[in-house]
Symmetry: C2
Subunit: 510 residues, 2 copies
């Protein structure tokens, strides 16, 4: 029996339309085989760049329809989704730039050296080749930028890897529209439409990561879901790389000096950041370490005012709303935890943003408080008041890995090398993949230097899912030894017809 896949409106809880049926094991196999058949055609870098630019253009052409569907099934709102679509198109084109430039091939050429010590050296030429078909697991909270046409798909196609996407159940209609965009772009670039596959359903997602022809996987989602798939990837007869972005607390440390200088500004900024998108960003600041005393009190007062003024919002689905309400209640019920602005039920289908406060001294060393150090998906943050540098350090030492870690510093301490602020940044560097000063972690710029990843559970690997280097996840190096020029890939010939950047006999060349 075919299991129907429904698009649901989270604002009403009502089914909107049946979009598809869940993929059977046979459907998954067919999608992976069709994708694998596209591998040779993707070897041509110019085809890949046409595909990516074409997809960006078609996404923009169909923007109105796609945004309407996404808003109807995610409640994220048209302005946010308009921005997300622009970001997604930008990202597709940014990866086209990466493909055309060719630096990602990491070409290294060492000419033969018969006089090399301790032994003569053969001619060696190394670059990177695509891994094969990539499984992409779409995220709930970014129906475009981290889903069917998102960063995992764009970077995999840029690397030359066909893709099969497991759609997220929160936006199946958007997923179908976007898969159609990608497939039309593939056909327009001269590729088979199987270059991009789409499957729906939990079981299909499990079957996908176990499929013998899947060569790697990208995932954005929860710790339990991501860990189960990571474990399945590692347990395969032939294990595959699993690049999962699972969860992050995104600690923020406010120094005494920063609070003294601009407590009100920090409190208001924090409220804006943790309530943005109804708190459904993986970079939401979920733990804020603020000083005790007068200036920390000012910060909490400002946060109280700003958070109380933030209206209720609708989460992506009813299950998330239930989990949020339960998560808030469990945390708020811990001894010593106060609720200056209580988060919780915001009326039918909605939730209210809020925050908790707790003393660092209470938190220290008590396992019951571990819950406060776990991500609570939705518009909640926890403000921990520390009384000393030692208390601050003790809390930081208990934190798991994070996507981001932020320091708010005073004007003077930001100019001092080697002092306490430098020490704090070193601590935060050990905790996260992105370290910010005097900013907010929500908002992840698509840029070559971006790193969106971090120590586990932030990421299951050392990779990034945003920015140009995200392409590295889908490649493996190959070295050619003493291979005649006629048989070398053009990027590895001495005359370098495609003009890619290379390191030749130790010297960087362009």
């Amino acid at each position: 029996m075919a299991v129907p896949v429904w698009s649901v409106d989270p604002r009403t809880g009502k089914q909107r339309e049946q979009v598809a049926v869940e993929a059977t094991a046979g459907d998954v196999d067919a999608a992976v085989r069709a994708a694998a058949a596209a591998l040779p055609a993707l070897a041509d870098r110019s085809v890949r760049s046409r595909l990516l630019r074409g997809a960006a253009g078609l996404l923009e052409e169909d923007a109105e329809r796609i945004i309407a569907a996404a808003d109807a099934e995610t409640a994220l709102g048209v302005p946010r989704l308009t921005g997300e679509l622009a970001r997604t198109a930008y990202q597709l084109r940014a990866f086209a730039d990466v493909v055309e430039e060719g630096g990602f091939l990491d070409v290294i050429i060492d000419h033969a050296d018969p006089d090399a010590k301790p032994i003569p050296r053969p001619d060696l030429r190394r670059f990177k080749v695509p891994l094969g078909v990539v499984a992409v697991y779409a995220a709930s909270n970014f129906p475009l930028a981290f889903s069917v046409p998102g960063g995992d798909t764009a970077s995999a196609l840029a690397a030359g890897c066909p893709v099969v996407v497991k759609a997220h159940p929160d936006h199946p209609a958007t997923s179908a529209l976007c898969a159609d965009v990608l497939r039309r772009a593939a056909v327009a670039a001269g590729l088979p439409d199987g270059t991009i596959g789409l499957v729906h359903g939990f079981e299909a997602g499990v079957a996908l990561v176990k499929h013998p022809s899947i060569a790697a996987a990208g995932f954005t989602g929860s710790v339990p879901g991501g860990r189960a798939l990571f474990d399945a990837a590692a347990a395969r007869p032939r294990p595959i790389p699993f690049h999962g972005e699972l969860g992050s607390l995104n600690p923020v440390v406010v120094t005494e000096e920063a609070a003294a200088e601009r407590a009100e500004q920090i409190g208001a900024g924090l409220a804006g950041s943790f309530t943005l998108g109804v708190g459904q960003f993986c970079t939401k600041p979920g733990l804020v370490l603020a000083p005790g005393g007068e200036h920390g009190d000012r910060l909490v007062a400002a946060l109280t005012g700003a958070a109380a003024g933030a209206g209720p919002g609708v989460l992506l689905d009813a299950r998330m709303r239930d989990n949020f309400l339960k998560g808030v209640a469990a945390r708020a019920g811990l001894p010593g935890v106060a609720q200056p602005v209580p988060a919780g039920d915001g009326g039918e289908h909605a939730v209210r943003p809020g925050f908790l406060t707790v003393a660092a001294a209470d938190l220290a060393g008590q396992d019951a408080y571990d819950l406060l150090l776990e991500e609570c998906f939705g518009p909640l943050t926890v403000v921990v008041r520390y009384g000393s540098a030692a208390e601050l350090a003790a809390v930081l030492d208990r934190l798991p890995g994070n996507l981001t870690a932020t320091a708010h510093l005073g004007a003077e301490e930001a100019t001092r090398s080697g002092g306490e602020a430098a020490e704090l940044l070193a601590r935060l560097t050990a905790l996260a993949g992105r370290v910010l000063v005097n900013g907010w972690p929500t908002g992840v710029a698509v840029a070559p230097a971006q790193h969106h990843g971090g120590p586990y559970p932030a990421t299951t690997s050392t990779s990034t899912s945003v920015g140009g280097t995200a392409i590295e996840r889908w490649l493996r190096p190959v070295a050619y030894q003493d291979t005649p020029p006629a048989l070398l890939p053009p990027e590895l010939r001495d005359d370098n017809p495609p003009g890619v950047p290379r390191r030749v006999d130790g010297v960087l060349e362009r």
Copy 2:
């Protein structure tokens, strides 16, 4: 009760001396903690380069003693071990060069762009930081170059990671001498001697990969052993990267044209390669696809002559000898398999090299013959005679991943782009991490462009364990957002005081 660790002479089977006792869980914990304590001191790149150069010098100073110990417990012979020590010292210095040059930091800087579309961009500066303490599992067959002072250790130290090595039971005395060299070099460089730890014993190896403060592991060894440790690394509460080099068949394809031109030369070359070091190289050619017919017969005749002339040799230990004899017998007993030169018992403690032949048509599609497609550690190779391109392709399609794949081509076909030779090289590229033309895979040059790794089971990751890029295994990227210059690592400041290569606003700079 302390379990003694003995150094054993494989030429006699006799215990030489007790070197140490097996490490308890407490010993492992102490070694990891001592290593972790060295992490901050290793942050300074100049200290790392002093350590690596110092270790190379001390290794050379102590060469005579180390080589004597290694020969006594591995039977690899003084000439080979003299070469291996030179290679190991070269490798330590090569990684010092890598550290000093700084390109491995992969610095990318994007200055803030308030006018960026679709949204303004913050200042982002990304480079790589060390992962933490690295566990190194030494190989049996390279007591120096892939053991205590070998490539995993050198690349980890170069990356800024302290190391705890699990010694291989085949050369505990050599391991102890080399650990002493590394520790003296550490102290001379101003580092604690715990920067490099050494543990003995199977259980200690298992405890090591599970230790919470181990951040990554490097392994060279067998498929079962490596897979068990890989599984343990993946099953940790916080999984860690496990870079294992497990096993490889290293297929060699000889075309009809190549055999016609130089069957005798290829046969002799093959004999030299598969018997080198008593067949104990991970890059030993274990499967040779040679054409049927007259020219293939000439090749087999030449191989027969050369292999029959190769004398017996002593394997690394008695267990390996038993496994080799069993492995040869099981393969030779398959129907249709011939033994032009039978491998086997070479007298007390020794084995004789030999090779098998089989028709590709026999091999095709029969699971019983899978054994011929598995590595047999020791001086044995399997020559598969193919009658057509289709038969050749059918065998290649059944192969697992490999470290290397080699083509022997005729003079004319080596000059033709887009023909059958190009197609063959594309097939071999899919199978391996290093593709050779008209050479032999044994002998892995230490060079920036080297790639010593390949699809599973050759490697459990996409990494290399030889060459400059081996350092990438022990690093993770971190991006700094809007961070004041005083608090940035020097490599990320606009003025770039250390002069490392960087990509700034899209442009490669040195």
